[in-house]
């Protein structure tokens, strides 16, 4: 019970410490926050549902372009624009989920891959709408609540992005312990058993995709708002692949892994790239291999001395009754 209040306070303390301690690194932290939100969206399907996805950039890109196109039309109010990005992401997630929910394993993976490539190609073919490789630039974002303008130092963007991530993280935490989240987890662990219990899978997976799509859309929208730019690169395959790598690095199946992975990946990349602009990739590759070899469950999968065994993991008691 105490943990419930202590944890948000601790995080808020960290946020303030970063804000005062690293005022010239806020752009990096904001960027990592966006990636963490994206990783969190992937966590909902991969971590909870156990459904791999290689096309998550599709939802991210749709969100990014929703904000971009709205800004071009003069709709620059950030909160409603971001909400629109989330809604578009959710709708796309539900639509994709209607197909993906009927598939498992490799076929599902192939469909997500195809979806990502399809949207990337479509965006390239519609330069009038998307701006093609050149993208849409000069996108205005109005001050938040009419008073906090986005500044070059990224102070507003920092608090804004962190708030969105915090809200999303809280929602995912609640989701994990809700019957819906628990049943998703059960689907991951033993779909046959779930089926035998008479719990439908299709609607659950579809809803998971809807939630995941909404979060990815929010992340995309955040990226557009904090960089004032969007191009078809948001749909690219490497974005889908990178986010999966980040999630694996942090630890699949753990929502804190979705935070740790992007932060670690991003900070490592930045430090190594500052060390050497050409050979940082080698350092990053070695670090990733080391993590996968030494901690196959991701960094949070390690048995840290100060951690209880799998503290975030909700184990299903054998007697849990699942309600449809």
């Amino acid at each position: 019970m105490i943990r419930r209040f202590l944890e948000p306070l601790a995080w808020a303390g960290v946020a303030v410490a970063v804000f005062w301690g690293l005022p010239d690194r806020l752009a990096l932290v904001t960027h990592l926050t966006t990636l963490a939100l994206f990783a969190l969206s992937l966590h909902v399907v991969v971590g909870l549902g156990g459904i791999l996805s290689l096309g998550h950039a599709a939802f991210f890109g749709l969100g990014a372009y929703t904000v971009g196109l709205l800004a071009l039309q003069g709709w620059t109010e950030p909160l409603t624009a971001l909400l629109a990005a989330g809604i578009i992401g959710a709708v796309a997630g539900l639509a994709a989920g209607s197909v993906l929910a009927r598939l498992r394993g490799l076929p599902a993976l192939m469909v997500t891959l195809g979806l990502g490539l399809l949207l990337h190609e479509a965006a390239l073919r519609l330069p009038g709408l998307t701006g093609g490789e050149d993208g849409l630039s000069g996108l205005e974002t109005a001050p938040i609540f009419g008073s906090f303008a986005f500044d070059l130092w990224g102070k507003t963007a920092y608090w804004y992005a962190l708030s969105v991530l915090a809200a999303a993280f809280w929602c995912v935490s609640r989701l994990e312990v809700a019957p819906f989240g628990v049943s998703l987890r059960a689907l991951h662990d033993n779909p046959t058993r779930l089926h035998a219990l008479g719990i439908g899978q299709t609607a659950r997976v579809q809803t998971a995709y809807g939630i995941s799509g909404a979060l990815a859309g929010l992340a995309g929208g955040l990226l557009t708002q904090t960089t004032q730019f969007v191009s078809v690169e948001v749909f690219s395959f490497h974005r889908s692949a990178d986010v999966l790598v980040m999630l694996i690095l942090g630890g699949v199946g753990r929502r804190y892994g979705a935070l740790l992975g992007p932060v670690l990946y991003g900070v490592l990349r930045d430090v190594l790239a500052d060390w050497h602009p050409a050979y940082w990739g080698a350092g990053l590759g070695l670090a990733l291999m080391a993590v996968v070899l030494l901690a196959p469950q991701g960094l949070l999968g390690l048995r840290w001395p100060w951690a209880r065994a799998n503290p975030e993991r909700v184990e299903l008691p054998a007697t849990t009754h699942l309600h449809k």
Partner: protein, 392 residues
């Protein structure tokens, strides 16, 4: 969890400390370089660094009397969100005086709002999309635009009695720019476009397109593909289907015979007529000295148009700083850059005082072997070509 977090803070802090250690010496000019140093496009960064190194070797390592510190940021190809963040960090954290490099158009466009807000000048050393300089009042370009080198090819074709042309371009920004500029110039001179074909950017199979050319038999075909394997693949297909014998001439922009790849393309490019602003074999004492210096500093690699744009970028900064008396604030510096004329290894270049884009000679060249090396031999030139880009 807080323990992990403080570790993260530690990592960031140590990076910060490591960075501030690079600052030193008496008031050096700080230049941020945003380019590709790793991955498939690592040569781009190498070419730019080489060109800049040659210029600094000439001036004894200074620009307008000030020593220069470079802070390099790697985007590893087109990565607009990274470029945007790098620009912010270079300005806020590293407090650079200028930003240079910018090999990919999306990267250059993505940093434009940052430049405008922070009032920092950027010198674009490659990105070739027409619109770039119009996106911020503090962007200046020393490279070229695809439109700028495509239109002269149309004008030259008209002087050769070519009346009908089919165009085949890669379906992406620069390809569309090339198509648009060629069509406009060719139609304005009374020519007819028989067919405008666009091929996918990745893994295209050219046989169907070449077959259509064979059926239509235009006077010539104009192609634009990104430099690398694709132009060679097209030319091989063009030969194999015997289109040369039917009298269809093949025209292209310099991307098809990029000096960086030409040495490894075998006999396929032989005879190809291209339009571009720089050839490694440009016959001037200035260029001979440049290529010799480049090879002495960088190695056996051929200096490409990218290296020359980087060389000229530093020359432009040098000249502008001398004019402003060392002032680097963006409005003053950009004003001093406007209208500058420089003696580049490629010939005379001028920065247009309205568009801040480059005005230069575009050469018509033919790929052939000279002393056993495949090079682009310039045989005709169109002087003072404007970039038909967007006026701000």
């Amino acid at each position: 969890m807080p323990i992990l977090l403080s570790r993260r803070a530690l990592v960031i802090t140590s990076a910060l400390v490591g960075f501030s250690a690079t600052v030193g010496a008496a008031d050096p000019l700080k230049i941020g370089v945003i380019a590709s140093y790793s991955g498939a496009y690592a040569d781009y960064g190498k070419q730019m660094d080489g060109g800049m190194a040659v210029y600094l070797a000439e001036t004894g390592g200074t620009l307008a009397g000030r020593p220069v510190t470079f802070i390099r940021k790697d985007t590893a190809g087109p990565a607009p969100d990274l470029a945007n963040r790098f620009a912010k960090e270079l300005i806020i954290r590293d407090k650079v005086d200028l930003i240079v490099g910018l090999d990919f158009s999306p990267n250059a466009i993505a940093i434009a709002p940052v430049l405008t807000e922070a009032k920092v000048v950027a010198v674009v050393m490659n990105a070739a999309s027409a619109v770039i300089p119009s996106r911020s009042p503090y962007i200046v370009r020393t490279s070229f635009s695809v439109s700028q080198v495509s239109a002269p090819m149309a004008q030259w074709a008209l002087t050769q009695g070519i009346k009908q042309v089919s165009t085949i371009v890669s379906d992406y920004g620069p390809g569309q720019d090339a198509e648009k500029a060629f069509h406009a110039a060719f139609k304005a001179g009374g020519g007819t476009i028989t067919n405008a074909m666009r091929v996918p950017l990745s893994n295209p199979d050219f046989s169907a397109y070449v077959q259509r050319l064979k059926d239509e038999k235009p006077d010539a075909a104009f192609i634009f593909f990104p430099s690398g394997d694709q132009p060679t693949a097209f030319m091989r297909n063009f030969r194999e289907r015997g289109l040369e014998a039917t009298g269809v001439k093949l025209l292209a922009t310099g991307e098809a015979t990029d000096d960086a790849f030409l040495a490894n393309q075998g006999e396929d490019p032989a005879g190809l007529i291209t339009s571009h602003h720089y050839s490694f074999a440009h016959p001037s004492p200035r260029n001979v000295a440049y290529t010799a210096a480049f090879r002495k500093i960088v190695g056996e690699m051929r200096p490409s148009y990218m290296s020359v744009a980087a060389y000229d970028g530093l020359a432009l900064i040098d000249a502008a700083l001398k004019k402003t008396g060392g002032k680097t604030d963006a409005p003053t510096l950009i004003e001093a850059m406007k209208g500058q004329t420089l003696d580049s290894p490629r010939g005379p270049i001028t920065i247009d005082s309205v568009t801040r884009d480059i005005v230069q000679t575009v050469y018509i060249r033919k790929a052939q072997r000279v002393n056993g090396q495949m090079v682009n031999v310039e045989f005709d030139a169109i002087q003072a070509v404007q970039s038909p880009g967007v006026t701000p």
